[in-house]
């Protein structure tokens, strides 16, 4: 392969995207990491990511890398922020644009690339490559903020779910315990949940009512806990 060169009058940093991918297994909040197969930091776990191509936005690049490296389609993808410390990559100057992705773990997990990928509970994160531990901590902070005005459950749970599952999700993200009855009351009162009619299953199933949600969002609502 020919060694093409791209030249500029002033120094340009390389730009990558990295994804903090959150999933929920029914018990705990998890983060998807891949093991690096090449130096630097070979063998360490890292956030999935890669270089931005010239014709895509950072959002498109993040979605592409996510799909390529893990096989997941993000049901939600949001930019976190850019990380620009000059020495954060030992090879050359690389700035990364970090993203938060929410995926439904139940979705097919056919990782295309052969890269080794694994879910880690957020309190059992191993040592990470680059400044990815910093990025991950920032992502968790952002997620905990986000939960107050975004129906995160819709992106992390299956279409239909029980109230208990939803509560466990909230509890595992916020590291708290809620009163079972008050939690259900509050959720139903807000109006973004619709009970499933079918009377066959005993634990009542719910689904998100996105129409009500978008109305609420436009009025700027917030969920207090």
């Amino acid at each position: 392969m020919e060694q093409k060169e791209y030249c500029y009058k002033y120094p340009h940093p390389a730009v990558t995207t990295d994804c903090v991918i959150f999933g929920f297994d029914g018990q705990r909040l998890k983060v998807l990491l891949i093991r690096r197969g090449i130096d630097p930091y070979k063998g360490l776990w890292a956030l999935p990511g890669g270089f931005l191509t010239p014709d895509e936005t950072a959002e498109q690049g993040a979605a592409r890398e996510l799909k390529e490296e893990t096989g997941f389609e993000a049901s939600y993808l949001e930019q976190l922020r850019a990380y620009t410390a000059p020495g954060r990559d030992p090879r050359e100057r690389v700035i990364t644009i970090a993203f938060i992705a929410l995926v439904k773990i139940a979705d097919v997990c056919g990782g295309d690339d052969a890269a080794e990928a694994r879910w880690f509970a957020t309190d059992e994160i191993p040592q990470l490559a680059f400044d990815h531990d910093l990025i991950l901590r920032d992502a968790l902070t952002r997620l905990r903020e986000k939960i107050h005005f975004h129906p995160i459950g819709h992106d992390l749970l299956p279409e239909q779910f029980t109230m208990k599952e939803l509560q466990t999700l909230y509890e595992s993200i916020l590291n708290v315990n809620f009163d079972r009855r008050n939690f259900a009351k509050k959720m139903i009162h807000i109006g973004i949940l619709s009970p499933i009619e079918e009377p066959k299953s005993r634990p009542q199933l719910y689904e998100f009512n996105l129409k009500t949600y978008s109305e609420l969002k436009n009025r700027g609502f917030r969920l207090e806990f």
Copy 2:
């Protein structure tokens, strides 16, 4: 000046920082813009910003550009997000990392560079260069969120201020009207304001009590309106 060249194996975008600089003149929330002296978009108003140098973080670059182009020191500087649409700069691929800066308008405004700079009310923004109108709108949205858990007044008002000034600030940012008495009650109740003892001035002056604030922040507080 010699034409140095910086070459890479893969294409690298140029990286700039841009600042949305908010100030408060006692009546309305303002944004500081500069008029572009060169193409592209020559003559249009734009957010102050410039290219990132190889040895500085985006935060440092934003602070430097802010100082160089407007003479202001930001009392608060926070990354908003990166803007990466491939066509956003007609010259070459340029991604920008946008920042929100809060400054005290009363501070010396000795603009170092001769660039024409002006404060604009947030509802009287002229046509802007590049995608700066999008950035500005995002910054306003973020600021309106931010106001709920950051004492924005501390970065936008003088050291000492009246309750009315603080209320006007909040009202101009959120585009609402508060009951004068309930607003004061709530602010004092929170505990981040300290009344100034000196009995000479009639309208009671206050200052921010940053110690109480940082305690509150650690406990994760939020101000509802």
